[in-house]
Symmetry: C2
Subunit: 396 residues, 2 copies
């Protein structure tokens, strides 16, 4: 797919600058995103000069310069809500292109990071939580939102527009023709938000709650939310409520995520039995298997477990230990999903039954609850099927 | 590529049954093998009936039955040197096809595993270390070789032929037209043996030494080594010596393996500088990078580090911790390579310099030696380049 670069008018004097990135296979060098991702920057034209809010990833700098062109001559301010280079990566090229040394606004940490990332001499002004800056007919107001998703992060509220520019917060993966989230069905869009939020911000879920509470308590009227990824929200309540539910871990679907690894297929009959029993009980299943032919996307596993009612983890032992990829996935889930979701472990072992305790060690300190563990040597017996049924019956 | 199934005469009354497996993307559901793998079974025709040594992976059972056909009518013995299902996976189908209930020979653990893996009722006879069994004009002699690569493992020596059937031991990845290792250049074949051995048996390197010493001390004349994967050895000394060197960790090339992860390219200039400095000093480099577009094969990383003189690990921090994939790779190296190889760590951090101690914790208890750690925020300075030069100069 071609990458698309657009500049679209959102309101009087306000433009969305958006690139559709089909090149990134692994967002943050970690998350598989065949669905791609968009980076949104914003331009506000004021009587006193132009304001650029955030930017794009470095490889698209030149295209951003092309789209901005004349606007850069009169660039007065660059707001850096968040220094992660998917947003700040174009700043060096922009500063080199404009000779007028615009003021760069951000938190103290944003300033430090910009300098260390790009070794640039910038005209930086640190802004404080709640600070207001007037530029032409607009008032820019900044609120720090630490850990969403870095400690450097803030949002920018434009008082006269009642628009809030939130960078990573309320973002999503995916490439869309639409500009606004209300142009597509929420249920279709929701998986893209969930996947982005759980993978990128998952470890800081408690800060979602804190920061949303903080913003709500400001009592600001918000007419539009304009994030750094994904679509724009003309009905901010919808995304705020949804996002809050990810934060307080209350999103739950009638869905069971089944993850398993199988070196030679010995565990497969037990997993198939489990899957069928779950589906007979009216739950959807998502199955991720790690075999000699398939390796699932960790990004999808994280996203699907985030709103699951139950996790089944099928593990074949490896060298008398938990299978290495299962260890990796479990640590990722511990960091990114960490939620009061029950887990049933199903283990096929060769030399000895060691998995239960070792998995307990990996997820120690998380909110996950191992409710049962069914272990058998090689392939399962009828008796093991009964144990699986009993374990599931307690939960479904 | 088509999978090939061959039955080739190796000596009077002895046949190689070989399948070339192009279907397996991840051997053991772990190791990326675009080069494929071969499974070797062997048939000995004796005056008292046929002997089958090992077998193939389950998906190829039918093809194995086709190749064996008439031979199965008179199948007297199946030897299971090692129960891993890439060799034993065809046993159930073979037993169902032959009605004559052949004797299955293996160690006690092999018997237990066969029953639990395949839920089969077999005519199993446990053999002891050093035990001899006569069948027709041949004497089969068994020697246990525990942990090469499972605790169940043994080798079979046929006294009259002076041939040793070693299953996983002396095996390799790769698909070849040749039957014998001496038909191709050793230097070209060596990477396939190294990759197989380091990934599959790497964790049990000390057992390589123990078991080879044991076999050497038997004082047997060995005319040919016939492994379960890869090519056959008419010059056994060559592979025994090479294998021993992997075991006692004395294979070293004038080679430096550079592994790094880079979320946004900030660490790249430091890595490039390091690479060029190393090459200027006459060392080859192997570079594995984990970026938004590339993810290296862990199997190749393990193989290349196994005989490296130095490892450079470039790590960008992630959530104030070691980048998750770097953690995974480092634990895999700790388990599979674990060797007195010096490591230099190069770190680009954002929020804080935490990597050195955390990497030390991951590789704690291994033989790796962290000789230096160069940490910088964002991109490196000229001063950091000097530090890199100094660290390298001590080692190259």
């Amino acid at each position: 797919m071609e990458n698309k670069f657009i500049k679209t008018k959102i309101a009087e004097n306000l433009y969305l600058l958006r690139v559709s990135d089909n090149d990134t296979k692994y967002f943050e060098a970690l998350w598989e995103i065949p669905e791609g991702i968009m980076y949104n920057a914003y331009l506000i034209k004021t009587k006193e000069g132009n304001v650029l809010i955030d930017g794009w990833k470095k490889p698209y700098s030149e295209k951003l310069l092309e789209l901005l062109k004349e606007d850069l001559k009169d660039l007065k301010i660059i707001i850096v809500n968040h220094t992660e280079p998917d947003h700040s990566g174009s700043i060096k090229d922009i500063l080199e292109y404009t000779k007028n040394k615009p003021l760069v606004l951000g938190t103290k940490m944003a300033g430090d990071l910009l300098k260390s990332f790009y070794k640039i001499d910038i005209n930086f002004k640190q802004v404080e939580d709640g600070e207001e800056i007037k530029v032409g007919e607009y008032t820019l107001k900044f609120f720090t939102t630490p850990w969403l998703h870095w400690p450097d992060t803030m949002v920018t509220y434009v008082k006269e527009l009642k628009f809030m520019f939130t960078c990573d917060i309320f973002g999503s993966y995916g490439i869309f023709d639409s500009v606004y989230a209300d142009e597509i069905n929420f249920d279709n869009y929701e998986p893209f938000i969930r996947k982005y939020t759980s993978t990128v911000i998952g470890a800081y879920k408690n800060y979602i709650v804190k920061n949303i509470d903080k913003i709500k308590n400001l009592g600001l009227e918000i007419k539009m939310i304009l994030p750094g990824h994904g679509l724009l929200w003309r009905d901010p309540e919808k995304i705020i409520d949804y996002f809050y539910k990810i934060g307080n871990e209350s999103i739950r679907s009638k869905k069971v995520t089944i993850i398993y690894n199988s070196m030679y297929g010995l565990i497969d009959p037990a997993i198939l039995f489990t899957k069928e029993f779950i589906e007979k009980n009216g739950y959807e299943t998502r199955v991720f298997k790690c075999t000699d032919k398939e390796r699932p996307y960790i990004s999808d596993i994280i996203s699907e477990t985030t709103d699951s009612s139950l996790i089944i983890y099928g593990i074949s032992t490896y060298e008398n230990d938990v299978f290495p990829i299962a260890k990796y996935i479990l640590s990722m889930l511990s960091n990114k999903v960490n939620n009061k979701i029950p887990i049933i472990i199903i283990t096929s072992y060769g030399w000895g039954p060691v998995v239960k305790q070792k998995v307990a060690n990996i997820i120690k300190g998380t909110k996950f609850i191992i409710v049962d563990s069914i272990e058998f040597r090689g392939t399962n017996s009828k008796d093991d099927e009964k144990k699986i049924e009993e374990a599931l019956a307690k939960l479904l």
